[in-house]
Amino acid sequence: MRAGALLLPATLVVVAGLLLPLLLLFRYSLNAFVPGQFMVEAVTAANYVKFFTDPFYLAVLWRTLRVAALVTVICLILGFPLAYVLARTQSRHKNLLIIAVVLPLFVGNAVRAAGWMVAFGAKGAVNASLLGLGLITRPIDIMYTETAVVIGIVAVNLPFMVLSLQSVIEGIDRAVEEAAFNLGAPPGAMLRRVLLPLAMPGVLAGSILTFILGMNAYATPVLLGGPRFQTMGPLVYGQFIEQNNWPFGGAIAFVLMAVTLLLTTLANLVVQRRMRR
């Protein structure tokens, strides 16, 4: 009884501030939008049909999925060595290294995108270095490309991947690696047949988290992709605040959540099944 009383205020606030508004948003997504009249009460799937039949919106969804998937794969490849070193190091500075990984997570995504803007401009750090080294003769376009967005989101999501992997690798006994080596396994085989299968829960958790964050990215695609590089997050905002088309904005929000949930559940099932074998 007392536990209930202690939990009541927080529960009420989350129900009133998140759960009910989400239901309301879903109800909005079934309303009709008449230009000039804004939202008109209705029960229709028209907004969802519009999204899945218009090539423009399908292209936005496909672009978002492609970027999120690419980011996840790159984060896994880049993150694994760092996670391994962090998990196995006996350095006094281990905590310092972990702070260096965690700290950037919380200083804001716009600020981190700004750093890449400094790097990617026509006279930015990357072009100046490449020109200085004589590798290129005139500046290459990096800003406002998919490459810039992918690099930006990888940097944002990498800490989550590293932390997920590190916590799992720390729990793997080092002796199993040494046993594989003693039995004559080359490093590649040890990684593929011993370390990776054992680290699979971390790989799965890290990949799912990275993929979700990639799907929902906002500041990075807006700043590094420019106004013409549309992804799902900015699309929701645009429909809501700029177009005032709340029913369609609501529908896009639920498409985003449903697609993300569907794909991550699927990935979970597939990996779990393979792990059991």
Partner: protein
């Protein structure tokens, strides 16, 4: 054989160092630009100056954005802790039937995408404003409430981590000696979980101050938070002024995180 081993170790360290550099590089570049003498971010810089830091207070969007962010995050952190500490105490008790569903419900604000949360909260404000005629849309009160929802899950996680190490026998002993539940909480439980509460407060502050996506939907015209002011400026151009403001935000939030780490190890809660 020894050389192969050494080479492998070197390659591993190199790959790890590359990933770490990748995480830190954008922050280093922003810091560098904040001290450039010329306004255009061209490399190599023509010289260095502290001038851009002195021009920040004169920029209305940044100055008022900073104050709004500060007020909103302090208010949201306070409210969030008042909700999260009792809730964590309840969830720490074993044998409570609704424990798992309620714990999941209370972490929902972290799971729902920021943009979707912002849109939903906006719709909620709109309906409530129509029903009651309270001026909610674009109000600081709405922003505080939305941020409170984001503070609660983090605060619960940090306070919960502290509570997990607390022996329940201590509270029982206090109660057996005649302390009221509130006295037992204030004199026994609270001092024991103080690191978690302090860390939760700092973490909540950082989450609220840095929030961008949800806030975008909730700010009023001409009244933005600092992260939104930075985003809007960057969508227009990048120069040492915005880099200097960014550096201030990095320093403020970075310091808060470093202090948090003194109380609860970050590697165990993120």
């Amino acid at each position: 054989m020894l050389d192969g081993l050494r080479l492998r170790r070197l390659a591993l360290r190199g790959a790890a160092g590359f990933a770490l550099a990748f995480i830190l590089l954008p922050l280093l570049l922003v810091t560098w630009l904040a001290f450039f003498r010329q306004e255009i971010p061209a490399f190599p810089p023509q010289g260095y100056t502290l001038h851009w830091f002195t021009t920040i207070p004169a920029n209305r969007a940044f100055a008022s954005g900073f104050w709004l962010s500060l007020q909103v995050s302090v208010a949201a952190t306070t409210l969030g802790l008042l909700l999260a500490v009792p809730a964590s105490l309840a969830l720490a008790r074993a044998g409570f039937r609704l424990r798992t569903p309620l714990a999941t419900l209370l972490t929902l604000p972290l799971i729902v995408p920021g943009v979707v949360f912002g849109a939903a909260f906006y719709v909620g404000e709109m309906e409530l404003e129509i029903a009651t005629e309270w001026p909610l849309l674009g109000s600081a009160a709405g922003l505080v409430l939305a941020h409170t929802l984001l503070v609660v899950p983090w605060a619960m996680r940090l306070v919960g981590a502290s509570l997990a190490t607390l022996n329940p026998a201590l509270e029982e002993a206090a109660r057996n000696l005649g302390a009221t539940p509130f006295t037992a909480f204030r004199r026994v439980v609270l001092p024991a979980i103080r690191p978690g509460v302090v860390a939760g407060a700092l973490f909540g502050f950082v989450t609220s101050f840095g929030n961008l996506e949800a806030s975008l939907f909730l700010v009023g015209p001409g009244q933005t938070t600092l992260p939104i002011a930075i985003l809007q400026y960057l969508a227009w151009k990048i120069d040492p002024t915005v880099a200097a403001v960014s550096l201030l935000q990095i320093l403020l939030l970075g310091t808060a995180m470093l202090v948090t780490d003194r109380f609860v190890k970050l590697s165990q809660v993120v």
